[in-house]
Amino acid sequence: MTVAIAAAMRITRAARAMTCAVLLLAASPLALVATANADDGVKTRPADCRLAVPSSWRGWQIEWIGPCTSGAANGAGVAIATAGGRPPERFYGIVTSGEMTEGVFDIPDGYRPARFEKGEPVALDDRNQIIAAFRVAASAARDVSSRFKAARNTQAARDYAEAAERLENQMD
């Protein structure tokens, strides 16, 4: 996908009012301290939107594009993880009170559908669960697309709509 972190950074003030996009430094899967990045151009993002991420993302920079409630990511959205010069990884899915619950990791090598136990993704082998995870992920990508569309960022809106399409089509 061509959506880059930069696309998220271009989000407008109108979208910021709707979207809780936080930059986190992943420290542990269960207790992350949100820290706003003064240099990323999105200074109005709240710094208190917690999101626990799996250990594989420990030390990565995390951006959450989705709703926040009571200081924690909460609802459907996308978490974008970046580290060094590596290609970004994304999690499309549902977060409940700052904890990832169900969705799909979009990594350079493919898709990894998952549900979460104790903050860590559990691989799915039941086909219905896998189909459900992709459905949740596609819906989350569409939500993100809508947010960018409302913010009049048409390119990012299109990119996330295409991501939703790909996720929707993955399972036959």
Partner: protein
Amino acid sequence: MIMKLTGSVGVGGNNIRPDVIMVQQLLTQRGQRPGAADGICGPRTIGAIKAFQATFLRMPDGLVSANGPTWQRLNGGAGGGAGPLGPIGAGVGPLPGAQAPMPPKDGNMTTPVPRPASNTFNIGLKAISNAMMKSLFGMPRDTFTQECQPMNNAALKRNVVTEAVGSFKATGLRPAVMSLKQVYGDIASSYPQLAPRIGTAGMLCCRHQRRSQTAISNHSWGTAIDLTINGVLDKYGDGKVQVGLTLIAPIFNRHGWYWGAAFGTEDGMHFEASVDLAQKIKGQLA
């Protein structure tokens, strides 16, 4: 009868007429189309050599050396590597000296690589249509949705098994699952590092095709399977396939499994019974 080449045949070869005729005849026996056995090594013969080599070589060179792996396969490999349902397709089993696709140097089996050229896999196999599946096996159940539902066709259902296939469990029609076990065994022999990393995203699943209200997924009959490597699904429709899939696809092909990478929209994680294999499965149902 053991036949011998006096010289090489194909691209840059000696192309001595009796040798060319011998190669052309053997290619035809292996399901290739070199044209008439006229002893002339033209484009059709070379194309057939390359297509045949593509069933076991990563980089077909179009040359049959006098005692090289291609000749050994052509001349002595009939029937090797066949599963319980017998040999299908142009591919034959491993022979001493045969060159197999090479695993990636970095050992990462999920690295996406461009989808291989269409004339290098599924050689001699035909994809099966929805209509033919219905005609062969009947409807697996009476109603479908977008969710996986159990089979309720009693005649088919009594043939459904769930069994361990190496590193994963598969549920499908018994002959298809038995064939998968043979495939997995061959993978484990050829790629012992890769085999335990293979998993599945499901085999039997009675549902409509994605976004359709009428067409039925081929998974509905338990003769198709989606594979994962390290729990990662190859992305549908991006024109790339995980490198590990390129290694195992020739093995699936040899057992009559058609690789979904050839579909109009590439589906690299998908393997399904080809027409020939489906017919053989049908013949083995209780």
